[in-house]
Symmetry: C2
Subunit: 287 residues, 2 copies
């Protein structure tokens, strides 16, 4: 067995960071994994579960002598972490992240990384509704996409190594421009979350006026609104970080809803069937 990374530091040993560690250890490609987390009980649990070999509460200490640093903290905190650790990174060290918004993070982090060290933006498309090191598992990324967002400034060797690591977790790795990434995820992930939160907000507000509406909700409503149970702080970060693409997506959605509303108001049965059929075709076309 040959290691491709001697020392890997993971900052934020939760579901994402913990699963990355477990998958790489299982693949036998990393020799030593150092865990860094602000939550000491989570960190000790990660160590006792064998997810990480060494632990540190201090990011600067944790990244010393690391070959690769993976940052898996909430998206708005990623640039701050890079700023904090920048001076402690050894020559040739590669920093990468798992944030679900990319353009702002990549441009910030490229500026913050010192000469001779490298940054590669990444986003594994995987997750569950659970969080914390104990919720992590080695197969989280198996057959899931991982998107890397290199720029013209990205070091090709660093990109190849991060790509190799993600492939070792079982992920299908692809690359794209960070702006394109953010437009796509605004549409297929961030917008649906905003819509789900708004729907439950609206129905709950109507319910608060005394109709006891939510007690009549059947499985469909529960399934449809499950994502409105997601972590508010995480979605605050994503909404703020990706506001440009997200506002455009919300406006596109509002335009579609306005077309539908007009057909309902006019009793336009043909228009309604056209609208629903077009949506159904898009939906049924998803593999």
């Amino acid at each position: 067995m040959s290691f491709i990374v001697e020392r890997l530091t993971i900052i934020g040993v939760g579901l994402i960071g913990g699963s990355f560690a477990r998958a790489l250890r299982q693949a036998g490609v990393v020799k030593t994994i150092i865990g860094v987390d602000r939550d000491i009980s989570n960190l000790k649990q990660a160590q006792s579960l064998g997810i990480v070999d060494e632990i540190s509460e201090n990011p600067c200490e944790g990244v010393r002598d690391a070959d690769v640093v993976f940052i898996s903290v909430p998206v708005c905190s990623i640039p701050a972490v890079v700023q904090q650790i920048a001076a402690s990174l050894g020559p040739g060290c590669i920093v990468t992240d798992g944030g679900s918004v990319k353009a702002g993070i990549v441009s910030c982090c490229e500026r913050l990384i010192p000469e001779g060290r490298h940054f590669v933006g990444g986003h594994p498309i995987a997750g569950t509704e659970y969080s914390g090191a104990a919720a992590s598992f080695a197969t989280l990324y198996k057959n899931k996409r991982c998107i890397l967002t290199p720029t013209t400034d990205t070091d090709p060797t660093a990109l190849a190594l991060i790509s190799h690591l993600w492939q070792s977790t079982g992920a299908d790795v692809c690359s794209m421009d960070a702006q394109r990434h953010d437009r796509i995820f605004a549409e297929i992930s961030h917008l649906p979350h905003m819509v789900a939160y708004s729907l439950v907000h609206a129905v709950g507000t109507a319910d608060a006026e005394g109709e006891d509406i939510l007690s009549y909700s059947a499985g469909g409503f529960r399934d449809f609104t499950r994502i409105a149970s997601s972590d508010p702080a995480m979605w605050r970060d994503i909404a703020i970080m990706n506001h440009t693409a997200l506002l455009a997506s919300i406006d596109g959605f509002s335009s579609s809803l306005a077309v539908l509303r007009a057909s309902i108001e006019q009793g336009d049965g043909e228009g309604l069937v056209d609208f629903f059929t077009k949506a159904k075709c898009f939906r049924d076309g998803i593999k």
Copy 2:
């Protein structure tokens, strides 16, 4: 075993009508079930599966000598069916329906039913994504709600019998005003469908411009938009029949989305957390 209904006619032997027949037969409360359907192959299949005893393609013939008639056809067709069969209903016959919109249907049908015959509006809160007699099963209504919407003109004996039949299927039966029913279902069922169709419509439209967006959609998007695969003709009927309550629900939703959009545009992190937390509390409060 004592039958509470000698002859039950089901007009529209699909998932809803077929499951009603199967459940009542299993409960042993109905002696003879007559199936009426425009689709003769579906009707013959219902007979060969033992769901119905006798079949007819002619509603007027099918309801002759029936004690109870259950109409489970698309909501916009229910008044037309009642109009068609009205003159063929025997004295004391009770007509009921399974339509998911109630105010318009109930007021129409009460006017159409001749003296000495009765109408009771109903809506079983159950379903699957499948349709047709072959998709029906005896336990569809078990522990599901069935809402009856009597008016001041509803015959109490007729109401009690229809309530008894639904209880025999295993459903939890409750009664409410038809307008209240329509407001509640506009919020928790019809609005979510309009939102899901609009979301897929918007994302699909953006995708049609060459981003290949939908290929990146993960499980969350698929789960969230599953209801946009529903039958366009069925939802056209519901949107038209319940347009008053539905337009109010859409406007309430749009107001919530506008609040959220403003917080995103202003980068108001506190406002975003408040909004998401309020929605999450409503969502997590659903039993």
